[in-house]
């Protein structure tokens, strides 16, 4: 279900206690930027995949209305708050609004404590319905 890019980042899905999927990215050479820290682009990639997974789930929850809908990214704004260290990173998304044509998604990424995010992203998607 996850795209090849998610496999390249070595992402896996954990089920959050509240039913929201959590994407996990291990620390590895392939996601490092400056020595000892995650690349901001890898953190952003993790958050974009988390947003897409959450959005697909939200569309599934719509039943027939969401069936076959395709999503296209319009834009993303990422804030980087802390350096990503040598430990797993998690990301979780909230679909703030799922409309007929547009969805708004907010995502945070953290390492030890979700209350201390290392990055946050706001993404808008176009929904193409059959």
């Amino acid at each position: 279900m996850l795209p090849p890019y998610a496999a390249m980042l070595d992402l896996s899905v954990e089920e959050g206690g509240d039913g929201a999927p959590i994407l996990v990215m291990p620390f590895a050479d392939a996601v490092i930027g400056r020595p000892g820290f995650l690349h901001g682009g890898a953190i952003s990639g993790l958050m974009e995949v988390a947003a897409i997974v959450a959005l697909h789930r939200a569309l599934e929850a719509e039943g027939a209305k969401g069936h076959g809908a395709r999503i296209k990214p319009i834009n993303v704004t990422v804030d980087f708050m802390r350096g990503g260290r040598d430990k797993p990173t998690r990301a979780k998304s909230i679909v703030t609004r799922l409309g007929t044509r547009v969805a708004n998604v907010e995502t945070i990424a953290w390492q030890d404590d979700p209350a201390r995010p290392i990055a946050a992203a706001r993404m808008n998607y176009l929904i193409a319905r059959d």
Binding site: D29, H39, G45, E48, V76, D79, F80
Partner: protein
């Protein structure tokens, strides 16, 4: 400001480099007084949508983060430790499957602590861009 090293983008990006950028296959193309141009060759393991074969947006964001970051250093002429504060990417159209994506990042203003950047990505025709970015970097010990 911390000890500054002259910044030469050809040497900085020359040859093979490791980390996330190297894993994605990102490479240097050219640089100007306040900009750096990189390229992201099409690779199947970077696909974000298996049905269409379109590249994921993450690798394009990564390239533009690197190009704009290096654009700050070329404008300064020296390497200064800094970090991305924020980055916005507008995805104007999907990248064409099979084509190399080219991204140019420019720094247009540097203050004591913050550098302002913008950039565009295309896949062959600069007049038909596929992404536009705007962002800021912060130097904890200052740019000047």
């Amino acid at each position: 400001m911390a000890a500054a090293f002259p910044f030469d983008p050809v040497r900085f990006f020359g040859g093979r480099f490791g980390g996330h950028g190297g894993r994605l296959g990102i490479a240097f193309r050219e640089a100007g007084p306040d900009w750096v141009e990189l390229e992201l060759p099409y690779r199947e393991d970077l696909i974000g949508d298996a049905a269409s074969g379109v590249l994921a947006s993450g690798p394009i964001l990564t390239m533009m983060d690197m190009a704009t970051s290096a654009g700050v250093w070329t404008r300064l002429g020296v390497f200064v430790a800094h970090a991305t504060l924020d980055l916005r990417v507008d995805y104007l159209r999907p990248a064409t499957p099979g084509k190399t994506v080219i991204g140019r990042g420019e720094c247009y203003r540097i203050t004591r602590a913050i550098a302002f950047v913008r950039g565009q990505a295309h896949d062959g025709d600069p007049d038909d861009p596929l992404a536009h970015v705007a962002g800021t970097f912060m130097a904890p010990e200052g740019y000047r």
